[in-house]
Symmetry: C2
Subunit: 395 residues, 2 copies
Amino acid sequence: MSPTGDGIPFEKPEFSRRLTLVKKEMERREMDTLLISEPSNIYYLTGYEAYSYYVFQMLVVHRDLDEPVWIGRFMDAVSVRRMTHLSEKAIRPYMDEYVQSSERDPVDFLVGQLREICPTLKAIGTETGSFYYTAMTHTKLLGSLPNVRFVDAELLINWIRICKSPAELAIMREAGKISNAMISDAIEAAKPGMRECDLASVIYQRMIAGTSEFGGVLPSSPTYLLTGSRSGEPHAPWSDRLIGRNVPVNVETSGCRRRYHAPISRTIFLGSPPDSYLRLSNAVVEGIEAALAEVKPGVTCAVIERTWQATIARHGFQKEARLGYSIGIGFSPTWGERTASLRSSDLTVLEPGMAFHMMPGLWLGENGVTITQSFIVTETGREDLTTFPRQLIIK
Amino acid sequence: MSPTGDGIPFEKPEFSRRLTLVKKEMERREMDTLLISEPSNIYYLTGYEAYSYYVFQMLVVHRDLDEPVWIGRFMDAVSVRRMTHLSEKAIRPYMDEYVQSSERDPVDFLVGQLREICPTLKAIGTETGSFYYTAMTHTKLLGSLPNVRFVDAELLINWIRICKSPAELAIMREAGKISNAMISDAIEAAKPGMRECDLASVIYQRMIAGTSEFGGVLPSSPTYLLTGSRSGEPHAPWSDRLIGRNVPVNVETSGCRRRYHAPISRTIFLGSPPDSYLRLSNAVVEGIEAALAEVKPGVTCAVIERTWQATIARHGFQKEARLGYSIGIGFSPTWGERTASLRSSDLTVLEPGMAFHMMPGLWLGENGVTITQSFIVTETGREDLTTFPRQLIIK
């Protein structure tokens, strides 16, 4: 990768390897064509990362074509040329009259292109659960291609993405270094009496500036910064109210580099935590350490989560939500891969190159503690993506 | 609204008025039930703004029920209770086992709830083009409710949202003040030799900290910061490459307050622009002034765009893309409302309370100029949401 964090993120052979894996799975599922709407999957196969998916775009993979074909808005084609190895014939832009118009539908443009570029068009796979493949697009496609068999390809590429290459892991380590710096800055800045938004701005400043070695870009989820009685609301925004004394400040955030994430959460307690709260945080720390110690190839997601539950149960606690999820490439609205979850019903077996965000948290009434760890599964165990100590921070 | 930018964003009568408008349109389209998946529309009807839409959630409006019913993940119900006027019986959370699971589908939970809470279930409207109403959800719903008529309700609420109330406009003015401060900070910080990411971090710091009067939150689109030869890529991310000398720096961004936006773009030229570039920027300035002068109730979007085209044509330029779009509430991935566009084919008639981001830009080879204006349509003309001078900034 270029040292300035731009240019095409991976070499051609890396993209070829990925395309081969996708085509193999297409063959297994008996589809000749695959329509890719999820921006993370388009990025995975091409390197294209411009923020253009709020309008219609699609990447077409056909088993008999050497390269994927990008279909999108004309003004974004210039970014496709710079960011990807695609040849000119694989870049098929539509004009602006198709954008959010009641008169023209870009699906018609797509169908015309499919007929032109696809050697066969018998069975098309679509990502039916993707945020960027709407019910309207699906209905229109079904009606426009009545003799084509539609096959569900939801998460097809996401499950291939779950094992990362060395080149991908190298970028995730860079994201992790930015995450470390963000948490350090947050701890240094946090104090009672400051507005929540001012503390959030310190975190964003570091997130974007990154380190002196490499800069950051915007992650695919917002930072959650929750103080005092709000610490029990996992997805609420901050506001301009003042941070109190003797309250927890929960921060969940992530550095982002070339669309790869390494999330981290920590609780900063401003003041003196009561004993009940310290018992809570001790249970979280003991639980995460026990669960992390289980991580190695061959172990299931379920086993890891059960270890966490068993450990906190000894302290009299239990947690309803899943313990974590697979991470890597992320585009809004989420940095999760939507595949494996660390939960008792998930029998996914860990393999080297997988990466997870383990995010234990416990709440006692309104007050919560959250101490999380992003990690890679290695040949022998795990490698942590962030190095910040796993403990309650008292300030 | 509470001065600290939290609490329920509007009073009960404001939400009741909105619900009445929606029910009236449901009646006209002969639907008894409306399923709302677009986060902006959920916010519009309830005030709920937590970032939970990356998992399944739905707001159900039934013509015979006094209040909408929220269906979402259990851990977010606590935010619904704080952020909305909804009563406890209108908050219907599902447990975590439904989240991104291959075994359980939250659509089943939704269907169960619909049967329980809806007095009738004959015709259901769905937002078929919403990013958060996937093809998979739609297919499953159709199969689960075979005797129900499905009606397209795409953009139904978006078109109601297009005219803002005084309470909404007050918040948009606050967002505009944050936008002003962001552009001022960017101009002060920009200099040749600095990393793009460091300039972006200055903008983000101000975006989130806001002003001393009111803080900001994260807008629904990223900031676009494009320098030098990249200025022709409208949706590319910044990187850590160094900003050159005698190059344009294009910034497109927005302050955000309570999910309301007031976008702004400016070009900062670092050094001495060549004459050809100054002619470009003069055309943009003349074009935007001519187009803005046309804004008043009764005029169509088309007339405004044609005025812009006619003005720049006198300078020998033309622009393919639309000139702007309706703005207001935004959730990722866009701050546009996806309704009216300032383009020659859009015959939407301007009314008081509408708001737009007019975004003219022109490119000459790789170098572009963009100077934009967010405004409200008033009884007699327009009110600008940002007050930054409409000119090329030379530094």
